[in-house]
Amino acid sequence: MSYETVIGLEVHLQLNTKSKVFCGCSTGFGSAPNTQVCPVCLGFPGSLPVLNRRALELGAKVAIALNCAIARKIRFDRKNYFYPDLPKDYQISQFDQPLAQHGFLSVVSGEFERKIKIRRVHLEEDTGKLFHQKDSSLVDFNRSGVPLLEIVSEPDMYSPEEAYLYLTALKSILEYIDVSDCNMEEGSLRCDANISLRKKGETSLGVKTEIKNMNSFKGVKSALEYEARRQEELLEEGGRVIQETRLYNAEKGVTEPMRSKEEAHDYRYFPEPDLAPFDFEEEFLKGIERNMPELPEPKKNRFIKDYGLSNYDAAIMASDKDIAAYFEECAALYSPKTVVNWLMGDISAYMKEKNVSMKALKLKPEQLSDMLKMIDGGVITGKTAKALLIEVIETGKNPKEMVKEKGLEQISDVSLLEDTIDQVIAENLKSAEDFKNGKENAIMFLVGKVMQKTKGRANPGKINGILRERLKGAAK
């Protein structure tokens, strides 16, 4: 029997506000435990929350970027449950009137192109963090009250791969609008998944499980792949999926059931009486809309139109806001297509190898364009350029000066080349003979030798021509 996998994702995003969502404490990461706290985020008796408007603004930005309908009235609710990392033993969240609803995220990857539906986006406060010791546990409340945005998709993804693409596209947009660090290791982006199987062709959803504890996008994909297999095997054997929460064990690559005791919650949501509901001012919203940066999709389309890039190239250039910005700076200085080739080729390879971000890259757009100009103008060879690129990136030096300093200009003086070629022929008489006798390949060996001697500064085409002239001439 064949099954269809149905996946929905819940992403928790820490918004990068300077202060917490309901008090003035700093949101900085990595300080000593319980140093960024006050009576409000410690939930001390008598303290009251006051909404940080910046958090609301960032939340609205996400909602706009995800094409959601934004609520006209902002209201918060209390989600009640006991846990030591939750100082008030309730979390201020939004329940039946979220910040935004009914949006979508465009996901494009190669042939794959879909609008994945977003169910809701809501604002809430983060909890503290527990540290378990042998006989006791400690709580750090620095994270308590950091603004969290929960982005919930519809069950609208049909493979773990789609879920992965959704997360990648989401992260790209979130980075574009600069609302979060989106760092899964530091916990500024967290993701839970709902997954169920149904027989192909059926429209109603099967019984789902909720998967938690995934620490990377790849982890999400692996966990979902495992869980889809597990559910399929279960159904194949005539069993039934139990609705439950399961934790992903990355080491073993499996999902394991969470103890059921911890999930039997009735959260007793009710409107938060400490925060009076208010109307979302039209002007405030308009201001946010006006300040929205260009998002990946429109940017891609503009790259195609303005720079004549292919759909594929444009998509890659637009996928990351730093790359896009870099590309545009370079494209203003030199041929966009050449820039793309280098960005996608040697530069991207270097960044991957050294794990360097676009922002940290020392290669200035002027330096890259200068180099490209030197290649196309015949000043340096492509081979020289490849080596030079690494040096420029690592030292940040001016490529033009380096070429002069190191004497890397292409040798275009034929007499100079001829001397070297004669020398190479003399040293490799066997190969020269072979060529003369019709072994076409032998010439490549000789070209290589000449290149070696000129340290790559000679034009291989020219060498080839001169060599042929010499050897063929001698054969006559």
Partner: protein, 485 residues
């Protein structure tokens, strides 16, 4: 005359004339407390040396400040930095907040002297001050009787001249009912008039801090000192606070006052009923136009209140879990066991009762039938008042259906106890201001209170009606004589 028996405005006059010093006032209070407190148990935390120190060498009265050198007692649910603040509950044993409530900062800015904390029903759950972990407070007019509650300690202290001024909090009548039962003035401001920051919440949508004083002018002075918008409380209103004192001295000729028929119920004390009727005639004599009106949804107020208030309380009191502060019993076997032991040992019966009731009202499957429906009826109750205030300047009712009852009389019968607040609850549900002033005594010499309700943020009007009534009667000048007998 002993200074402790005077009003704040009388003392301010004496201080301005330099006839007395703040230390004299403090000493007279300390002396009175030494005499009466054993009998009354009105105070939860009082350290006379600390009080004297605050008014000692360093203190220089500054006449420009509203309460310079005037001592104020604070209900035990209002946070005072580094001072015990326990809501008269075992679960907050030893708790000293690291910060001041906004009202405390305002009092300090007005140069008031903080004296100590007054006893209360545990977490303000009660109408008699009997649920306090420190034991019941007693009514100065008859120490076999309760002083009302939950701000019973504040009302008893002011009534017995242990205090000049006191702050209480009022969620369903907790300022007005004890003020009535102790024969003093108590005012619950409009919701949002006074910042709740630092008031340990009972029911966030109903709680307000307010003054308990010996006369109406003092209530006006203390209210002015603590009112105003606070950035730390987003439910506090950004509406200007007028200087009440000159305004309340205007006469009440031609003012329209409504007398709701729903507030004269069966089973009500006859003396109370008669006193209110006489008081209404007095107001008419002063030129007010009194008319019978109807507030048709009054009968639902108690039910609505005990759903909304307990629902919010169940959530507000969740934080008392033994993790960060207050009680944490030894020998907990697990996290859940720690929660259970802390709350089982820390909360009294009434607190447990209300937490369970509120938890139930919010539970899945019951939410719509109880909590949500209660919210809808709350809106109807509010509309009753909106409607009435279109035609009337104020509404006058009894504060409590009965005078002070005997200690232990109702403690085992929560439903009867809950009915003590039957006339005060609606003002909290509607968010409107209300004041209780003395308007007579029963045959047994127990005080009776007159409640005056007003439009939102029109404290001026209820203070004005109250002041005019008070200045033309003598009830507020009577003092309890039998405390030490």
């Amino acid at each position: 005359m002993e200074l402790n028996t005077l009003t704040a405005h009388a003392l301010i006059d004496l201080l301005n004339k330099k006839d007395i010093s703040p230390i004299d006032i403090c000493n007279s209070i300390i002396k009175r407390i030494a005499d009466t407190e054993k009998r009354l148990n009105a105070l939860a935390h009082f350290d006379k040396d600390a009080a004297l120190k605050r008014v000692g060498d360093g203190f220089k009265p500054s006449p420009t400040k509203a309460l310079s050198g005037i001592p104020v007692f604070i209900k035990d649910n209002i946070c005072v930095k580094d001072e015990l603040t326990t809501c008269s509950s075992k679960i907050l044993k030893g708790f000293k907040p690291p910060y001041n409530a906004t009202v405390i900062n305002k009092l300090l800015a007005a140069d008031a002297i903080l004296m100590g904390k007054t006893n209360m029903d545990e977490f303000a759950f009660g109408s008699s001050t009997e649920t306090s972990c420190y034991g019941a407070s007693r009514n100065p007019w008859d120490t076999e009787r309760i002083p009302g509650g939950s701000s019973g300690g504040s009302a008893a202290a002011v009534s017995a001249d242990e205090a000049i001024l006191a702050l209480g909090s009022d969620t369903g009548g907790s300022i007005r009912q004890p003020a009535a039962l102790c024969g003093v003035v108590g005012l619950k401001p409009t919701y949002g008039r006074v910042s709740r920051y630092g008031l340990i919440a009972f029911a966030s949508s109903l709680d307000q801090i307010g003054p308990i004083t010996k006369d109406v002018e003092d209530a006006a002075i203390l209210l002015k000192a603590i009112s105003g918008h606070d950035e730390m409380d987003s439910t506090s209103a950004n509406i200007a606070v007028n200087d009440y004192v000159p305004e309340i001295k205007k006469d009440i000729k031609g003012l329209k006052i409504g007398i709701p028929k729903e507030y004269f119920i069966e089973g009500m004390d006859k003396d109370v009923k008669d006193s209110i009727k006489t008081a209404v005639q007095k107001l008419e004599g002063l030129g007010a136009v009194c008319e019978d009106i109807s507030l048709p949804h009054t009968e639902y107020a108690v039910s609505v209140y005990y759903l909304v208030a307990t629902a919010e309380a169940s959530s507000n009191l969740a934080r008392f879990d033994g993790v960060q502060y207050g009680l944490r019993p030894e020998n907990a076997k697990s996290m859940i066991d720690m929660y259970k032991k802390t709350r089982e040992q820390g909360f009294g019966d009434e607190a447990k009762r209300r937490i369970i009731l509120g938890t139930f009202a919010l539970s899945s499957g019951y939410y719509d039938a109880y909590y949500l429906k209660a919210l809808k009826v709350r809106t109807l109750i509010k509309r009753d008042f909106d409607e009435a205030f279109r035609k009337f300047d104020a509404i006058v009712t009894p504060t409590s259906p009965t005078p002070a009852f005997k200690i232990g009389e109702k403690i085992s019968d929560p439903l009867t106890m809950y009915l003590s607040d039957i006339f005060t609850i609606s003002a909290n549900l509607a968010g409107i201001p209300g004041i209780s002033i003395p308007c007579g005594f029963t045959k047994n010499n127990l005080p009776i209170g007159l409640q005056i309700l007003g439009k939102p943020f029109d404290e001026e009007m209820i203070l004005r009606v109250a002041y005019n009534y008070e200045q033309n009667t003598d009830w507020h000048n009577r003092k309890p004589e039998n405390i030490l007998k």
